[in-house]
Symmetry: D2
Subunit: 353 residues, 4 copies
């Protein structure tokens, strides 16, 4: 079995990390090229990682036969477009979340994937975190009984600069951050969310209101089989990057997450202090590696990825519904538009029918 | 300054604890009598606590001059009626939550209190918990900056027996349990909640649906000054009595609560296990004592209680709105009916206008 | 069964707490008098606790028929003498630790107790702490298997002022603080320590060397049945009062202790901070109450106390051996002087033979 | 700067991990060969890591010019001999701990290193753990003030099989496990230990006594500048791999270590359970990578390693002293034999003089 040739599109912090992981920690894969509209940056990363090619865009990568897969780590706004182009060129895809910033864009991306018969994996890396993965094992083994309540918290340490909001390159909080919790809400509960209710606030940062974004949101969830839940997202927690999830079952419950990153407590007359993770790249460093390894192995074995385009669509539908609920001050049904093709090869397809 | 004569109405677990605390831990007070419709039980408790009087009802207590205050620990359904009777007899009152099970009943109780010019303290004992109290001190000192998000969890270990639901003596989950979090939501954030959105479920206990009760609920909060929040209540957590609250501010955040009651970790090849509190009487034992001491001191100094009838009314309005939101699948404004007199002596009054 | 009349000798922080507990939290007992060489202080405490008698010494208490028990909370130096006098007057005794500051003094105190046929309980209150008590239950149920290693840490937040060292009223660190861990080392392991090895330091406080005291000590333990252990004591931990114990067994292990007193975490960009207990009176508040309740019940039922004079002697022997080991830089056998009568009524006796 | 060619001697769990790390996570290095007396195993590992050479011993590696460094991960018994051979061949060395199993062997290894002018780094990987490293940074910044007490715990989950003891390939507990804590005791306190007192036990495993090994040990430490300390090692903790260290300073203290490996709490009516790490390869996975990266960078820059042969010698002297103290039931001076050459290039030397 030869090595899987991969190109990475976008070398911001996230894309750079993916490139590094492929280069160093995924023995089944070979990093062929990185690309970025900032060509200089692409070349610098290529040099640092000691690979040959630093391109200025997707096209150059799509032309190469030795690139079989593309990892998409551009701003959110360009995900769907890049997926369509990569699929059309017959490349398998690992795309960062969200799938798109609106449902039409998402559906046309999934259609392109389906038509091309390529695989698409969504970058919900939390599923690969040792904590979340071990929780899921216990849930699947029936250890918590019937799931009743889902709770999740996702807090960033520092909000993006105002320029980042102004550029509108990334989706608002529900699309860019909460999307991870929307995915967990489906995955860990093994059920679909049928309706949401959301409040949001710009609170301490009123200047972002004009860009349609928010500082914090709370989203209530109603599940198809009767469970309920809540997700809280906050973009400016100051004290650290804090991700925690709880699943309450009829027999037992599970808490995932921790307030402590490094196992050090510093004790003064103020008390004992622990530092938290300050960024998702440190909190989920292992998860990103495991995600990429699993992606490479799936593709090499011609096996549908574990996190599919449909997962991307469902999470996006929840984000769309949450935003609508917030703007209209009313509960909003999720994915009321009906069932959509979500693409992938026939094997992938079969799973969905 | 003589001792404050107190009678306790209702000697279930809660009333018995109040009676014990007054007898043993509130030096400023004297427990004169306990009363319960179960006369035998009242007499037994009186004997155990070595006090003279075990009565069958409130009337006998109200007739006594040496009883200046009445602690009401009956089932929820009778709180308002007992408050009216006690106020009419000129007794000061510490009433367990909720103030009443509907707003009319609550308002007439507060009117009676106002007319009688007596003091009424609501039994929101969490405000007296060392954890919550120290959090509030830091908030009032401005240490967290502007509060942005309020979160609270309240989970009971074991749900009441079905007979308890059938009797309808106590309010449904939002009135009987969540009411504590509704109070915290106002108190810690120093702001009023203007609207709520709620989902609820009977999930694993469908047999309680016919009594109008629920197993779990999630309630989103929208605050007057722009903050948001969420409260989760669950009646059957199995693993313990688990109460936790988080307040996210612009400068810092506070977490109150702990998964560990006794400082013991038992380590086997399964890992390290800590036991949680199993009941509010053990988790909040200190708070109940501090609450009663503060009540006695307030009354003796002719000072309005720190937790007022208005606090009881506001929390009840939130419960009413949460129930309505759940039943109607729509957001619901809190206390839309306008401002109500909430009673107490002139000094108390002044604070509210 | 009438109430047990008790007098408290010494109304420093410890004695005052005992007096308060008896007055308010031990329904079986009646606080008759407090006494202190500082008569004014004794009278003030008597007034505050609303009891009649504040005496200047033990004699006045011993003369009273209604005082059946004496609680000794004087400086360490006077414990044995007070025990002898109280025993001679036929009073039952709860004495603070240590039993004495040397073995001769201790043995003569135990002889006096034995001759008088009174009960003597040693104030090792940690045995009554919910954490330690629940650990012991599990050990006695065989849940940890064979105990192999005993570890204990005892750290005070702030060292006493230099004047306190100069007065020499209390024993050096091993006698005054470590004595608690010496007791736990025997009790939890259900075995005797046969030999110790100790290092100690005056480190950051060289000015106390001339009083024969130390700032920190580490004591290795060798047990009769083959287990080993270590105790660390530190008098100036700055960050809080920190008491933790670990028992490693062949099947499981137990950790007792916690770095967090109040369940509050304050989160800033420095991380999450929890406050510790700052004093034994707050860390062990429940234990002191349970200790006194158990003492009163034992005496009223004419039952030997659970923590006996022999326990006091054995812990003292360990302190003596630890000090000798430190001074002579050599391991030191514990209690090599042989078996001693340890007193109490016949029932008590029988247990020991 | 070309890549550093490295060969790994010994492909048990530890050597295999080093080989993997070099292959995948140390971009500055190239894994040229692995070698093991079990040739089949060496070849299998070579194949899995996709490198060319799997040898049966050190000699084949020493002959190769492209191998500039050797990583020694044989059983303890062969460390010194392999160091001498590698040094004689002019190879730089990263050796697993301990340096040797006796001082003569250690000194002759260091002499060989010194004569050859090669670099030797000792595998005290804990210094590279994020927790320990951040603690050291705070200590070096003076944040804890004067260090007063050093405490360390090192517990393995499962003891080796009896066959492993019988083979005598590895040193007894003080040499094989406690050696890590001996190194930390010097490093974190920035002082030398002058004397130790040790107790040890075979307790629940008497069958290992005949091989001169122990199940648990406690070692008191006396430092040159007046501080004291204690180390506990236990080989059969059942509940997990548990490494914790505390440094008490005059101004603040630091705790390193955690009872929780994965951030998951499983909650049942027994309470909340967290799993611990079960092996040093999982607890210190990041540390092993950082160690190897630092080694490669040091060698490439012709810079003395941060963990030197002298560090290996000093820790060994402590192990020797601890064993002697245990066997002779007496305190034992550390390294009383005087100062020894500890090798390395001139630059390295200079640091030591």
């Amino acid at each position: 079995m030869g090595k899987l040739g991969i190109g990475v599109l976008g070398v911001g912090a996230m894309g750079r990390r993916h490139a590094e992981n492929i280069r160093r920690l995924v023995p089944e894969a070979r990093l062929i090229a990185v690309a970025d509209v900032a060509l200089e940056q692409a070349r610098r990363v290529a040099a640092e990682l000691e690979i040959e090619h630093g391109f200025s865009g997707l096209d150059e990568m799509l032309e190469r036969k030795d690139i079989e897969c593309v990892v998409i780590a551009t701003p959110d706004k360009f995900h769907a477009e890049a997926i369509r182009a990569a699929a059309a060129a017959g490349k398998h895809i690992l795309s960062e979340k969200p799938l798109a910033l609106n449902l039409d864009d998402a559906l046309s991306a999934l259609d392109a994937v389906a038509k091309a018969g390529v695989y698409l994996q969504m970058g919900f890396m939390r599923r690969y975190d040792p904590g979340y993965a071990s929780a899921m094992k216990r849930i699947e083994a029936g250890e918590i009984g019937e799931p009743v309540v889902f709770k999740s918290i996702g807090r960033d340490k520092d909000a993006p600069p105002i320029s980042s909001y102004a550029s509108k390159l990334n989706g608002m909080l529900f699309y860019n951050n909460t999307i991870h919790d929307f995915d967990l809400a489906r995955w860990l509960m093994k059920d679909e969310v049928s309706e949401v209710q959301a409040y949001a606030t710009v609170a301490i940062r009123p200047e972002i209101a004009k860009f349609g974004d928010i500082v914090a949101g709370v989203v209530n969830l109603k599940y198809g089989r009767g469970a309920i839940g809540n997700i809280e997202s906050y973009v400016q927690a100051v004290y650290g990057y804090d991700v925690r999830t709880e699943i309450m079952g009829s027999k037992a419950s599970i808490l995932i997450g921790s307030l402590q990153q490094t196992p050090v407590t510093f004790l003064t007359d103020e008390g004992g202090t622990q530092r938290l993770a300050d960024h998702f790249l440190s909190r989920f460093d292992d998860a990103y590696v495991a995600e990429m390894q699993d992606f490479a192995q799936s593709i090499l074995k011609d096996r549908a990825p574990r996190v599919t385009g449909e997962d991307g669509l469902r999470a996006l539908e929840m984000a769309v519904a949450a935003e609508k609920s917030y703007l209209q001050s009313a509960p909003c049904r999720v994915g009321a538009e009906g069932q959509h093709a979500t693409g992938g090869r026939p094997g992938n397809r079969a799973r969905e029918s």
